[in-house]
């Protein structure tokens, strides 16, 4: 291959010779993004639940103080990780662990760790918003039939909150697929890092990154479609059809008699 070959010939040539590297990169990107989103989701749910525990005048003062301390720590975590770039967090954690604790992290587990705690910080606020968006009447109705706060959360509020934050969670996943590219700074062999290697071999940056671009898009687009499908599935039908007229209750009662 020489500089005289056409653009498309170069693209084809690069793919022909380097496809395993691209695919390994894509696989690692997906592994890190998926694990990071799932772990981050659970971190977020846990923190979201803790941050919506009702504290009032009836709460024991010691418990109230303990709660305030925990809340402060959680809030600091959220603010710090939302307020700094993930690329910088990766550098600090990866090289910090090596220098301060003498722990040499493997790049991929380190990548998963960084994406998880970063996603956790965002998800914590998303989950809290989801819980607060559940109508107050749902809490009152649950309390009025004797449910405790824990039961109310577990059986009534969280199922509704989690469904309402599903679009935001999908969004986090898509963002993570793209943002894992910053982990190349700590030598994680994800798609961007591998693309860079391929480009270095051939000195053909445009052709290589066009391929990379297409692979990223295929991944994010597929994920978006799949999660949208899941959302529609969970919504269910909007009408419930019975045999008989909704406006004539007598007709419905007669149908019950027949059954």
């Amino acid at each position: 291959m020489t500089a005289d070959n056409s653009f498309l010939e170069w693209v084809y040539f690069i793919w022909q010779h380097n496809w395993p590297l691209f695919l390994i990169g894509a696989r690692n990107t997906l592994i890190i993004a998926l694990s990071g989103t799932i772990i981050g989701f659970f971190i977020g749910v846990l923190i979201g639940i803790i941050r919506t525990i009702p504290i009032d005048h009836k709460t024991h003062p010691v418990l109230r103080t303990a709660y305030n301390v925990v809340n402060f720590i959680l809030l600091s975590y959220i603010e710090v990780f939302r307020g700094t770039p993930m690329m910088v967090q990766a550098m600090v954690i990866f090289y910090g662990a090596a220098m301060v604790y003498g722990v040499h992290l493997d790049p991929i587990p380190a990548g998963i760790f960084i994406v998880s705690i970063n996603t956790g910080a965002y998800m914590a606020e998303i989950v809290r918003g989801g819980i607060l968006s559940v109508d107050k009447g749902q809490f009152e109705a649950a309390h009025s039939i004797g449910m405790t706060h824990t039961q109310t959360m577990a059986f009534i509020v969280l199922p509704q909150a989690l469904r309402s934050i599903l679009p935001a969670t999908s969004n986090e996943f898509v963002i993570n697929i793209k943002d894992t590219s910053v982990l190349s700074v700590i030598s994680v062999t994800e798609l961007f890092f591998n693309s860079n290697s391929v480009a270095g071999i051939n000195y053909r940056y445009f052709e290589v990154f066009l391929i990379t671009c297409i692979i990223y898009f295929i991944m994010t687009f597929t994920v978006t479609r799949l999660l949208r499908y899941l959302e529609i599935k969970l919504e269910g039908p909007s009408v419930y059809i019975i045999h008989g007229s909704q406006t004539v209750p007598e007709a419905q009662i007669r149908i019950v008699g027949k059954e």
Partner: protein, 245 residues
């Protein structure tokens, strides 16, 4: 008579606003008591204080003679004795009609599934909603939701049922089906405490009507006296206004 709930010197203050001022009041077994009064008179707050959705500022709430504000009995356990029907229905949106009526029995009363289902079906049939058991709340009408909400409260087999303006959020043509269910319940001897603007219901069904204004109970008596010959000027004024409409 056996008093289920008795309220003594109950006060509730929101900020600088004293919503309930020294309320003394009781409900006995088998009674149907209607609380009437203008918006903001404190009638809903009184009802919400009774099952501790609002915590009273001071005073006593006696449940069979025990002050539940002092007692160690948890709010949750106490609340299972009083069912509540809300203005906005508040059906659990994530659960089907049947599960709405079963979840409390399973999780709070720890009944087994078959028994809970049997009880739930009994009350869903009573309110005429048995054929909708698999529907989700957003698939049924307001009147149907309120009937399911009544069945949900009854499924816990409480000693008394509290109704907080159960027909106020309904379209006019749906009010009748809910009132009919409530009348049937009243005739069956259920203890009911109803905050309502339905004067016809209060007149026909109540054993006693309580008129509240500005955070105090102005007058309470049998419906014949309240509606035909009220002794207080404020009661007369309120009824004149509301019955003219």
């Amino acid at each position: 008579m056996d008093k289920i709930i008795e309220v003594r010197h109950l006060r509730k203050v929101f900020g600088n606003n004293e919503v309930l001022k020294d309320i003394n009041f009781s409900v006995s077994k088998g009674e149907v008591v209607c609380i009437i009064g203008a918006s903001g008179s404190g009638k809903s707050t009184l009802l919400r204080c009774l099952n501790l959705l609002e915590y009273p500022t001071s005073g006593e709430i006696l449940y069979h003679g025990t002050n539940i504000l002092e007692q160690k009995m948890s709010n949750a356990v106490y609340r299972t004795n009083l069912g509540m029907v809300f203005q906005q229905f508040n059906l659990f949106n994530n659960l089907t009609v049947l599960d709405n009526c079963m979840v409390g029995q399973l999780k709070v009363l720890k009944k087994d599934k078959a028994e809970a289902r049997k009880t739930a079906m009994k009350y869903l049939e009573l309110v005429g909603m048995a054929q909708y058991i698999n529907a989700k709340p957003d698939q049924i009408s307001g009147g149907q939701k309120q009937r399911v909400a009544i069945a949900r409260a009854l499924s816990m087999e409480p000693e008394a049922l509290l109704f907080d303006e159960p027909t106020s959020a309904l379209d006019p043509e749906l009010v009748g089906e809910v009132l009919k269910v409530m009348k049937d319940l009243a005739r069956s001897g259920l203890t009911m405490l109803v905050v309502t603007h339905e004067m016809g219901f209060a007149r026909d069904v109540a054993n006693r009507v309580v008129f509240m204004d500005a955070g105090v109970i102005v007058e309470e008596d049998v419906p014949e006296v309240i509606f035909n010959n009220p002794s207080n000027e404020r009661t007369r004024e309120f009824l004149r206004r509301i019955l003219d409409e």
